[in-house]
């Protein structure tokens, strides 16, 4: 049996975007949530300061 040098020779090469795309989506969700929360916070604070 050949050793493919990937994943300890136990699996064939991983050639899909499956795992990485979900990882990307997760951290982009968190980043998007943070940006949105920051924008909403600014939106609430600014009118008070000007009012």
């Amino acid at each position: 049996m050949y050793n493919n040098g990937a994943a300890g020779g136990g699996t064939l090469a991983v050639t899909g975007m499956g795992a990485s795309i979900w990882f990307d989506a997760m951290w982009m969700f968190l980043a998007g949530f943070a940006i949105l929360a920051a924008l909403m916070a600014v939106g609430r604070i600014m009118p008070r300061r000007h009012g």
């Binding site: 493919n4 040098g5 994943a7 064939l12 090469a13 050639t15 975007m17 795309i21 969700f29």
Partner: protein
């Protein structure tokens, strides 16, 4: 209520946009890398086939990990479909393009040479893998030599750990692997080709070698 709905829509838009940007960037980076690898293959330092008197067929030389050693053409995927193949099949190697499984024979060699490539992402080299049909040519070129393999077993699905598909086979075979489904990696698609012809281009042999 409306503000919450708008917030959710904006959030989903940010996520979708971010993922699209990331995928676009990956494709762009792979395209740029491939241009560089194909230029590298045209230099005098690129691997050249080994011709031995006791072996009827020239054998492709191996390159170092993540270095290109040959060009792969599969006309079924498009007339201009052409990728530089690197040594290695782990994630960093496959980000560059199709990769040769280390430890398997090289093109031209007896046994089961094996190459993997991304189905989706990083330029989608094997996106149309399921369209391969018996008799389709798979051409691998190194220097002046082109090994023409023909598909003898159409794509079939196996488990992700079906490592036996890389085991030695009689004759001069080439096994291609990619992921299934198109945008996932829970299983693998496999196709097997057999060496049908070897062409040596005298114009390339006679041409002066470009300096690196």
């Amino acid at each position: 209520m409306v503000r919450r709905f708008v917030a959710v829509v904006v959030l989903l838009g940010l996520v979708a946009g971010g993922v699209a940007l990331r995928l676009g960037y990956d494709d762009w980076r792979t395209d740029r890398t491939q241009e560089g690898l194909q230029q590298e293959l045209s230099l005098g330092t690129a691997p050249r086939p080994v011709v031995r008197k006791d072996v009827p067929v020239p054998v492709a030389s191996r390159s170092a990990y993540k270095k290109p050693f040959a060009e792969l053409r599969i006309p079924r995927f498009g007339e201009d479909w052409e990728w530089a193949v690197v040594e290695g099949t782990d994630a960093p190697a496959l980000e560059l393009g199709p990769g040769h499984y280390p430890g398997t024979p090289m093109p031209g060699e007896e046994g089961n040479a094996a190459i993997a490539a991304h189905r989706a992402g990083h330029g989608d080299p094997f996106i149309d893998f399921d369209l391969l049909r018996r008799g389709d040519p798979v051409e691998i070129t190194q220097g002046d030599t082109t090994w023409v393999y023909r598909i003898v077993r159409e794509p079939w699905m196996v488990a992700a750990d079906a490592h036996h598909v890389l085991d030695p086979l009689p004759g001069r075979k080439l096994t291609l692997t990619t992921c299934w489904p198109k945008y996932g990696s829970s299983k693998r698609l496999i196709a097997v080709a057999e060496l049908d012809d070897v062409r040596v281009d005298d114009r390339v042999s006679a041409a002066p070698v470009a300096s690196p």
